[in-house]
Amino acid sequence: MEITRRDLFSVGGKLLVLASVGATLEQITGAAPASDAYKMADHWWGMLIDVDKCIGCGNCVRACSNENSVPQGYFRTWVERYQVEEGKATPIVESPNGAIDGFKPLKRSDVKSFFVPKLCNHCADSPCVQVCPVGATFVSPDGVVLVDKEYCLGCRYCVQACPYGCRYLHPETDTVDKCTLCYHRITKGLTTACCENCPTGARQLVDFKDPKDPVHEFLRHNKVQVLKPYMATQAKVYYKDLDGSVR
């Protein structure tokens, strides 16, 4: 069969178009290279919680549960409601199902009452990481305490060692699970699911290594505390206006 110049141009032209379309498509849809824009060394994550802004709606608990498929009955984050009565040695505290559906309205106004959201404090000197026998839980280079669910034995030593009660054994994977600070979101420039869905801004993700993060200014002008400071875990979740009665 004779191949004419016309044939060559026609086929060649089609091939060229195909190749360029293919290359463009690959640029758009192709996987990002292993060393993408996120560099762990540039970040040191934490959270800021303003107790006086929390309205106990439980949006954060629901959002976390949806975002991370948290099993029912277990909590990566939860909200507690305190009633502090003068002269009483201990406060009344409740957290109905972690406040995933909010709270039943509190009628009595003769006591000091407020909400306290809680989560993993992503301690820099974490006692849970210290006790893991195999290295299945660790502090990432950007300050997030994570669990390697493919390596965890399920011994639950870390659950015992956490002073804040933020860990649990996942009933399906039989490995320990906890708040990951939505690591899969924050490494893509998003904020955590709980902070995203908090209607009052009571919860704010912070990056201590980012010079433009408002946390630096905030810490200079506000009084903040961590939970159980005497445990010396170097917790990185800071609470503004945390009452002394909070356990």
Partner: protein
């Protein structure tokens, strides 16, 4: 309202993480350590009176040591990953030590000492038995049939050294478990520097009591006379060890009550309610005070042989129950109260689940099965004493 919960608990705290099996584990390693210490009394400290129980104590230790990892394996979410503790042990974790201390103790201390002690019997059996037994004993000789007097002297010297190394090894095998609890700053019921020592002394108490019971029962079953001098000596050492153990536990209690830190109210309430039966009645009264009284009576007055036997057996039975209760109170007790000090939960023991009552009973019976197999293969009482 969550069933079983009083007051407030952090939502993830309601369910207990460390179950009955984790109560069982320190109990078993405690028996191992205690039995070994009794054996070392004769070997290293030359308390010749307890010689009749030397081999028995070693086999008791081995039987329980072989079962020791099983409750841990049943408890793990992923037992198939336990090799990771050997591959990548985390040096800051006391639990990571387990695999290595266990292997060290099993091989370099216990198996080696048993081999050295029994070598003459093994070689003799290899030469006189037939069939499967012959193969077994030949394998146990590890290929050497040298049991000349000179060789046995060397065996004795090396055995002595192994026992000397074995004593701190036994301390480590059980003491590190105490440290696993004692080093958890998050839990005030566990966190105390006394914990490894309390665990160790209560282990010694339980181990010595176990050997006394096994010796008495074995002699009864074989219809042989009990060496009372041996029994009296064991009871004496049991008494001394018990006094130290009791003192340490009372010291912890008094210290807590005196300092009355923020956890005290909550823990005190827990002891008076959820732990009343297991701690005050079972552990302190029936498990410690009554045995101590029985043993002390024998140090003060001389009773008839039959009475002494009865008192020792009663004391040891109660002791074994009491030390189990102590492990229960530490492990379970440490998880019944909230770290917010505002609430309590309940522990319901399941029956047939992986961590339930039936597997636990099975695991407690298994060492006795192994023990009876061991005394068949390596009789602790030589038919003809080889001098």
């Amino acid at each position: 309202m969550i069933p079983g919960v009083d007051g407030f608990m952090y939502p993830n705290e309601v369910e207990l993480q460390w179950s009955l099996l984790i109560v069982l584990y320190p109990y078993i390693t405690g028996l191992v350590a205690g039995a070994f210490i009794l054996a070392s009394l004769e070997r290293v400290f030359k308390v010749e009176a307890v010689r009749p129980t030397y081999r028995l104590a070693l086999l008791t230790a081995l039987a329980f040591l072989l079962v020791a990892p099983l409750p841990l394996q049943l408890h793990l979410g992923h037992p198939e990953r336990s090799l990771e503790m050997y591959l990548t042990p985390h040096k800051s974790s006391a639990m990571a030590m387990f695999g290595f201390v266990y292997l060290w103790y099993l091989t370099v201390v216990l198996l080696l000492e048993i081999w050295l002690e029994y070598r003459a019997d093994i070689v003799r059996k290899a030469q006189t038995t037939t069939g499967f037994q012959r193969i077994l004993y030949k394998a146990l000789t590890l290929g050497s049939e040298n049991i000349s007097p000179a060789a046995r002297i060397i065996d004795d010297k090396v055995g002595y050294t192994v026992t000397v190394i074995g004593i701190p090894s036994a301390f480590l095998l059980h003491g590190y478990v105490g440290f696993i609890f004692g080093s958890i700053k998050a839990n005030p019921w566990w966190s105390t520097p006394l914990m490894p020592i309390v665990f160790l002394f209560s282990a010694m108490v339980s181990g010595i009591a176990a050997v006394l019971m096994l010796y008495t029962v074995s002699m009864k079953l074989k219809k042989q006379p009990i060496d009372m001098r041996c029994l009296d000596t064991i009871a004496k050492y049991l008494f001394y060890t018990f006094v130290i153990d009791f003192t340490l536990e009372m010291l912890d209690l008094i210290h807590r009550t005196y300092e009355a830190d923020e956890s005290f109210r909550s823990l005190d309430f827990m002891v008076h309610t959820r732990l009343w039966a297991s701690q005050v009645i079972l552990q302190i009264f029936l498990g410690t005070l009554v045995p101590l009284a029985l043993l002390a009576a024998n140090q003060l007055w001389k009773f008839q042989e039959a009475a002494r036997k009865a008192m020792y057996v009663t004391a040891c039975s109660l002791t074994l129950i009491g030390i189990f209760a102590m492990r229960w109170n530490v492990v379970i007790g440490g998880q019944l109260f909230s770290k917010s000090f505002l609430g309590y939960t309940t522990y319901k023991v399941d029956l047939v689940t992986r961590e339930g009552l039936l597997p636990a009973i099975g695991l407690m019976l298994l060492p006795f099965v192994i023990f009876f197999v061991l005394i068949k293969i390596l009789p602790p009482w030589p038919e003809r004493e080889a001098t």
